[in-house]
């Protein structure tokens, strides 16, 4: 009303946008074969890994950056970024005491306390700072259970046979432009191994922090769940607010053997750029894929994507084992000038395989939010079933939401369902809540969380609460 015009509050700033001053060991900008060799040498890698990297590099040279996604961005100059940066004061094999105090402070500021007493209860954390693993908490408890959670660099030394067997087995070397680049230059990431019959005693998690302005971020994560095992894994991501863009091209591979189950959750909150000018922010080009290799195995992806200037990401499941199950639960929120083209691929190969896709896209301000999903049912996947639900919510009148479903069915005994809806968070809904005494902020919170309920309930409790807060902060003052 004119008589009660309120002055709009500025939106809460991105509180993770700070930079840490740390002495780093970097190599010069640019990419060529000798850079690939240098990375491998610096990490003291075995021959098989150097061969893997070189093969990838050669493939990458022949590939072209893909442009089919519903996103636009300036040309990325791959020669104008650095491919290896590591803190000089890097500890040897996970003794947190040796870590540069500035880095430890960074993680504390991010709410990841490393102090034994203050640690997140029942969550073991591996911290990755500029693509280099800094350390892992709860090492002892995991060791006792036989569960391995460590950096992939460490795993290459301690479990080379597993790495050699599974690296590139789900996302092949020549899979796509960004994944191939990652295969050539990946710096670090997390490795998880759950032995046969073991139920991981706690949530495993990795916290990714980009700090450097000019280093591309290429993490590699590999999770192997042996027969009859179970593991739940969560990753969180933040980055400083720079006016330039940072490239993040990670690869995640999951392997679930007979009767094994992997739950993988992501809360991605990279810096998304200046909401007014669109300047800066992370370009997030990520390949995540899981292989349900064994019978009755299950892989479940839950993602909350609320950051990054550009998100290009399709966590997928290859349902190879008979009766295997793939799930994808996603909330993608875009605001400011963010662009997201995200979804999943469910590839049904085995008999009676089942997949569920629940995608919730929320677009605010002038952002673009697209869902892109492929359901492919092979000729031998008899009795396969898929259910897809794809909902978009628009906040304000300047944003856009799109849905691009692809369905390929190769046999007659399968069943595929697709439901989609688009709604608008509007003034009338908010007014309704307000006339009942509920503040606008609380109303947005309740409506958005209601919209995302089916996804949020898939997250571990602590992260579900965090996510609810994150969503309401992101949408502050986006309405009206």
């Amino acid at each position: 009303m004119a008589t009660e015009s309120a002055i709009p509050k500025p939106r809460e700033e991105y509180k993770y946008g700070f930079v840490t001053e740390v002495e780093m060991d970097s190599i010069p900008k640019g990419l060529n074969e000798s850079v690939v060799r240098t990375i491998s040498a610096k990490k003291e890698e075995p021959q098989f890994l150097l061969d893997f990297r070189l093969k990838a590099y050669k493939r990458w040279l022949e590939m072209k950056e893909p442009h089919w996604a519903n996103i636009t961005y300036p040309v990325i100059d791959y020669q104008n970024m650095c491919y290896y940066t590591a803190p000089k004061n890097k500890p040897k094999l996970n003794s947190l005491e040796e870590v540069d105090p500035a880095i430890l402070k960074t993680f504390e500021r991010l709410g990841i306390p490393l102090d034994e007493q203050k640690r997140l209860t029942n969550v073991a954390v591996d911290m990755v700072f500029d693509s280099v693993s800094i350390g892992t908490t709860f090492k002892k408890k995991l060791d006792d259970a036989g569960v391995v959670l460590c950096s992939i660099s460490e795993a290459i030394k301690t479990h080379p046979e597993l790495v050699e067997k599974y690296l590139g087995s789900v996302v092949p070397i020549g899979d796509n432009f960004y994944a191939t680049l990652n295969s050539a230059v990946f710096s670090d990431g997390s490795f998880v191994y759950v032995p046969k019959g073991v139920i991981s005693p706690m949530e495993l998690s990795t916290y990714f922090r980009i700090n450097d302005k000019e280093t591309g971020q290429f993490e590699r994560t590999l999770i192997i769940a042996e027969e009859d095992s179970f593991v739940s894994y969560l990753e969180g991501c933040t980055a400083p607010a720079f006016t330039t863009n940072q490239l993040h091209a990670a690869v995640v591979e999951l392997i679930a053997l007979d009767n094994a189950q992997i739950k993988y959750a992501t809360v991605q909150n990279w810096y998304s750029g200046n909401p007014e000018t669109g300047e800066g922010g992370v370009f997030n080009f990520v390949t995540k894929r899981g292989r349900c290799a064994g019978v009755n195995s299950k892989i479940s992806w839950t993602q909350v994507e609320v950051g990054a200037a550009i998100t290009w990401k399709y966590p997928s499941c290859i349902l190879q084992g008979d009766n295997s199950v793939g799930e994808f639960y996603s909330v993608a929120l875009t605001n400011g000038q963010m662009q997201a083209d995200t979804g999943t691929k469910m590839i049904h190969i085995g008999k009676n395989t089942k997949s569920t896709v629940v995608s919730k896209g929320i677009a605010a301000d002038t952002s673009h939010n697209s869902y892109r999903g492929l359901i492919k049912i092979g000729p031998k996947a008899t009795g396969a079933r898929n259910y897809t639900q794809c909902d978009s919510m628009l906040v304000g009148a300047r944003c856009s939401a799109n849905t691009f479903p692809y369905i390929e069915v190769g046999n007659a005994t399968s069943q595929v369902e697709h439901e989609a809806s688009t709604s608008k968070l509007n003034e009338d809904q908010l007014f309704y809540f307000m006339t009942r005494g509920i503040s606008q902020e609380n109303a947005v919170n309740m409506i958005v969380n209601g919209f995302c309920k089916e996804v949020i309930r898939e997250l571990p409790l602590e992260f579900a609460v965090e996510t609810q807060k994150l969503l309401s902060i992101k949408l502050e003052n986006s309405v009206g």
Binding site: F431, T435, G450, G480
Partner: protein
Amino acid sequence: MLDIKDLYCSIEGKAILKGLKLKVKAGEIHAIMGPNGAGKSTLAKVLAGHPAYTITRGEVTFKGQNLLELEPEERAHAGLFMSFQYPVEIPGVSNFLFLHTAYNVNRKARGEKELTAEEFAKYLNEKMALVDIKTEFKDRNLNEGFSGGEKKRNEILQLAVLQPSLAILDETDSGLDIDAMRVVASGVNHIMNKEMGLILITHYQRLLDYIKPDFVHVMIDGKIVQSGGPEMALQLEEKGYDWLEKSPDAEVVK
């Protein structure tokens, strides 16, 4: 309790209310009738604080406060309630969560103790019995997939739960069959008390057979042109509004 003095308002430059006056005291039931487009629903929304309307002139005091200075939620905290003609659907938010949240924010604003989910569930059951609503309503999403009648009953349930001091019911009878209307009316009669004021906005006289008003006002083109006792409703039913529009009292602005 409520005093509207010479109220003018517009939306997107178009004048809707044009010098409306109305006084409501505690314990009174006022019916506002009038043809389509007279501004009846606008009046309800303006009192509740809908942001799309601009007040161009006039004053509204509610329990001694300048109502127009308050945000919509502050009006609710002060004891104002509006039942919507077309309640919105909110997917994913359960009716229970909504009612519990609304109840507690109002208690909190008034400095009263908030109820736990358990305590509230008990309270809610009593209110649901009062307005004859099945308990399964609690678990359904707010108005989502509700029939027109169910939505209206849910509004009355909110009225029962929030116990405001002034309730404005905007065409609560529209879209209801006679049985549903009887249930809604009986709910309203149970809720109404001596400390409360009630404004009924309606097209038809039939609701007034079940909820007896103390005053009937006829609203035409943004203002009240005639006021009288309950008998006036019957007169309107018989003659329509034309005679008022043509009467010398009414300033007809085309």
